[in-house]
């Protein structure tokens, strides 16, 4: 099987990149999706709040997804559902399988990685206690409730105040469960303020900051959990234990980009984002393999996923069209030009910055404006994000409020950079109080 572009994952990132590549003139496109339908995680996010940036209206997850799915259906972009990709390699061969086609080897001129992310589990936290039924990651509980139609419990404790945990606190309350508390180990919530107000405060659900679950009890089913206060070093404080009798514990404790396939293909991973290192074209360290969405870094707004995926789709299309034009270009030449693109201008995270995506940009490839996505390491008020080129400040962004829970999007102009620049650094400068 041969395709110009194969996209791995049919969620928001895969859909937007496929549509954009098609718009740019590539017709032979395949999306591979392991679930029974397109749309990815949006299908279970039945709450509203999606699309304010892209569509200028507030949509629910399924509505946002369907707008893209409809376009895919009308363009003739092919897709395979219930299909699992087993392996990709540097020659852009994809090994995949499903019930109807069996085992397939698919050749692609370009690949877009759009596999999204996975939830951290109880195992990753090492919470002491028994191992009864009734412990769910928040997203799993969301799928049971919103798609399969099962309640996960009647008295629920939630650990972690990420957005999915907050959204599930409201959702379970609406469906008749009692949510006893949301415990958060950090002194601030990882969720959006509007979710704290509308999902917790509206229903008088307590948010316990600097608290964590220190024991899980129950034989066959969870019967209770113990919540303790933690000190400044995040160590539980003895004597602060409170036992909550409950029949379910939800974990909303972080998301991890799903990069088994990327690692197998020997794509370089950034330890800070846990996603592939990409340049401004969303191209990875392997020529012709692009990545976008939560597989690159975990986003909090799907609108930003869409924006990033449009860039990946554009770049993949450009890559395919160029390869059609320059059939004479040797493999070595293509690889060399890719290397140049990846090593042009490095972007470094300095004081207060957890990570920046993309990790490098190439001057000659840049549009007039380009954007940098980043997260800060702590909460800041009245601060500035300063971008320096080879040590010289080129732009400063005044920020009244910065928090690790909210991704920042900096827009920079190409005209700020001259062609000889080797590196850009990004840092937070706290204004004097």
């Amino acid at each position: 099987m041969n395709y110009d572009i194969v996209i791995i994952g049919g969620g928001p990132a895969g859909l937007a990149s496929a549509i954009e590549a098609h718009k740019k003139g590539v017709e032979n496109i395949l999306i591979i999706e392991r679930d029974r339908e397109l749309g990815g995680i949006l299908q279970q996010c039945i709450h509203n709040g999606f699309g304010l940036h892209i569509f200028r209206e507030e949509l629910t997850g399924p509505e946002y997804a369907e707008r893209f799915i409809e376009v895919v259906e009308t363009t003739g972009i092919e897709y395979k559902l219930n299909t699992m990709v087993l392996e990709i390699d540097t020659d852009k061969r994809i090994k995949a399988m499903n019930e109807t086609d069996g085992f397939m080897i698919i050749h692609a001129k370009a690949i877009i990685l759009a596999m999204g992310c996975r939830e951290r589990t109880r195992g990753a936290l090492a919470i002491p206690g028994t191992r009864p039924a009734g412990i769910f990651s928040a997203g799993t509980a969301q799928r049971y409730l919103n798609i399969e139609g099962y309640m996960v419990g009647k008295r629920v404790v939630i650990l972690g105040s990420g957005d999915i945990g907050l959204i599930m606190a409201r959702r379970l309350t609406l469906e008749g469960a009692q949510v006893l508390a949301v415990a958060e180990v950090m002194p601030y919530s990882g969720g959006l303020t509007r979710n704290i107000v509308q999902c917790l405060n509206d229903f008088d659900i307590p948010l316990l900051l600097s608290h964590t679950v220190t024991a899980i009890k129950g034989r066959d089913r969870v019967s209770s959990v113990v919540i303790s206060k933690v000190d400044a070093h995040m160590k539980p404080v003895v004597g602060t234990e409170v036992e909550y009798s409950c029949d379910a514990l939800l974990l909303s404790v972080g998301l991890i980009p799903e990069n088994e396939l990327s690692r197998q293909a020997r794509i370089e991973i950034d330890p800070r984002t846990r996603g592939p290192i990409v340049n401004d074209a969303m191209e990875t360290t392997i020529q012709g393999i692009f990545a976008c969405g939560n597989v690159v870094h975990v986003h909090d707004l799907v609108d930003f996923v869409t924006a990033e995926s449009i860039r990946a789709g554009t770049s993949a299309a450009k890559c395919v069209i160029e390869s059609h034009k320059n059939i004479s270009a040797t493999h070595e030449k293509v690889i060399e030009s890719h290397k140049k693109k990846m090593n042009s201008i490095h972007i470094c995270s300095k004081a207060g910055i957890a990570y920046v995506v993309p990790q490098s940009i190439c001057h000659e490839n840049l549009e007039d404006q380009f954007s940098l996505f980043l997260r800060v390491k702590a909460v800041y008020h009245n601060a500035q994000i300063v971008v320096k080129a080879d040590g010289v400040t080129i732009k400063a962004f005044k920020k009244n409020h910065l928090t690790p829970g909210e991704m920042e999007n900096l827009i920079l102009e190409k005209s700020l950079l001259n062609e000889t620049i080797k590196s850009l650094t990004v840092e937070v400068i706290q204004a004097e109080v």
Partner: protein, 125 residues
């Protein structure tokens, strides 16, 4: 004089607002812009919310259909709406935007489907 504390959700800043009420006159403090004042006044006089949930659907690939209120409804109507929607059953096919309950609880707001669900095709074995 009554005093109420609120967190503004109009933008990501999340200003902590204090509202004083005296002789049914509201004064808002702590807001960095005028939208905060409007938000606080609405929250304390006639708070509204969007309601999103699922209802039963028959003969579709899935057993639940996600739905929403077409517009925000009064906050106190949320649980009464849920008890009505818990009893509603629809049959596939349903298109995104189809009205599944008209004018719920006389709020003037319809409940609409937020996705398309076609008739289930049983797989040939």
């Amino acid at each position: 004089m009554e005093e109420r504390a609120l967190i503004c959700i109009v933008c990501p800043l999340g200003c902590h607002l204090t509202v004083t009420i005296e002789d049914s006159k509201m004064k808002v403090f702590g807001n960095k812009c005028s939208r905060g004042e409007a938000y606080a006044k609405k929250e304390l006089t006639a708070p509204t919310r969007m309601l999103t949930t699922t209802i039963k659907i028959k003969n579709a690939m899935l057993d639940r259909l996600p739905v929403k209120t077409e517009m925000p409804i009064p906050k106190e109507k949320i649980f009464p709406c849920m008890s009505i929607l818990n009893k509603v059953i629809v049959e596939a096919p349903v298109k995104r935007g189809d009205v599944v309950v008209e004018n719920i609880l006389d709020t003037g707001v319809n409940i609409v489907a937020t996705r398309t669900l076609r008739i289930k095709i049983d797989r040939q074995v």
